[in-house]
Subunit: 277 residues, 2 copies
């Protein structure tokens, strides 16, 4: 036990890899060239509400996305600082962010206050991404975002980035991201194409995810429902064990009817043969 | 060309996978159990300044980290709301975040203002992670973080998470993160252990990253230096092609002396045989 506790701590020197949630949240992209397009592709995959502002040429594919109705707004004029609060209702920022002091009570907030905070969360930009060849402008945007409490990424200026992008291999909701903490983006791209794609392309991992997601919801809603800590723990334990009980390949092959059968064995673990017929 | 422009847009339903930068930034972890430990492990890998607050039992390994001096602070008492501004200088938040209105000029800010914003950025919590079995408390923290403009993750409450964690395979600065957008964390873990580890464990990818990072800095500082757009473009082009010119395995085998030789061929691409002797 003590050996486990005193095992070496994690080595520093990496990034904090995270799956960010921007679904239905506003994100601003300043600039509409190649880099802007790459950012927009990442954001579309994550269901963000994307606003693009550009005073320069627009990549034809970004125009095409706009024609398809995939962008919240495409604004063709020079950026201005007030754009950072584009969707914020008059006065909402001041009413939410102003005057936090003096109130150190942990009592729940009243409905009016919580509704207001939730509204603000939906209206404010969650992220700002600049992709323009104008460093003074980008830098000015960085400072303003910091004043406003908005996360920001200036393309090609790692010192002014709350986060970096990486190479991503994807199958539906399954994503695999490769990062070298900024050291070699090209190597990430090669690892994706030369190592991950050959390994995963022939596997329907999308289906494995669907099957396991269906299994979890069946378990929670029908087979072993309840909110008590003990029940949640039992569900988690069985879910962990049943996931490990079949190979990844088997999970990619099951139909939903097989999942129905698997959960019907709860709390046991059926063999593959038990699922036939 | 038009075909390329009108290719299908990215499918929605995924997360925004990002490599977050928290190096030397304050992060707060509320709670010190198993989940807290897992968060702290992620944060240590990313060089964050970690403060842990817990009124309950402490995982012995978190105590061990604290003994090693890896934590900024371990505070053993109940959480209070003012903890969210623990390291903020008196009045700095008001001076940075207050009164953004009326100033819509894109002129650079004066030194005093930029210094103040940078100081605030170093003092404020960049993230708050709650890992306690106390939903009302976690929720109260969520609302307060939103008021303060702080990103937040409540363990086990996906609706109150700006971001999710995933399974991560790591070799030094190289990280590979697997996410199913919350659908099956256990599958991520299996993919990591059963598919990625066997593929990568025998390759010294850490060394490949070091080699490619060294190559980039040699190129930038000695072989083809300069800040002009054309020169940057030439460097990027050659860097891309030389990365693809050798296999990933070859990159894991080179010594730094081979890299010196490779860059000496710039702008050509030496064959493996050219590097001998």
């Amino acid at each position: 036990m003590s050996e486990e506790i005193e095992a070496p701590p994690p080595q520093p020197g990496a990034s904090l890899m995270l799956a960010w949630q921007v679904k239905e949240k506003h994100v601003l992209v300043v600039g509409a060239g190649d880099v802007g397009l790459s950012r927009i592709d990442h954001l579309l995959a994550a269901n963000a509400k994307i606003t693009v502002i550009t005073g320069n040429d627009i990549h034809p594919r970004i125009e095409y996305y706009n024609k398809l109705g995939l962008l919240e707004q495409l604004i063709c004029r020079d950026f201005q600082l007030s754009d950072l609060k584009l969707y914020e209702s008059e006065g909402i920022r001041e009413s939410v962010m102003g005057k936090c002091d003096g109130d150190d009570s942990l009592d729940p907030l009243n409905d009016e206050i919580t509704k207001n905070i939730e509204k603000f969360e939906k209206e404010k930009f969650k992220m700002v991404l600049t992709c323009v060849n104008n460093y003074p402008l980008s830098l000015r945007i960085w400072y303003q975002c910091k004043k406003l409490g908005i996360d920001v990424n200036l393309a090609d200026k790692p010192a002014y980035c709350d986060f970096y992008f990486g190479s991503i291999y994807r199958q539906g909701p399954l994503q695999i991201m490769i990062s070298t903490n900024g050291n070699s983006p090209r190597l990430c791209n090669r690892i994706k194409n030369k190592m991950l794609a050959p390994l995963f392309d022939d596997l329907d991992l999308n289906k494995a995810v669907q099957n396991l997601s269906y299994l979890r919801s069946k378990l929670r809603n029908e087979i072993h429902p309840g909110d008590k800590t003990q029940i949640i723990k039992e569900r988690m334990e069985w879910n962990k064990k049943i996931t490990d009980h079949y190979t990844i390949k088997e999970w990619t092959k099951f139909e939903l009817s097989s999942i129905d059968k698997i959960v019907s064995f709860y709390p046991n673990f059926p063999k593959i043969g038990d699922l036939v017929g």
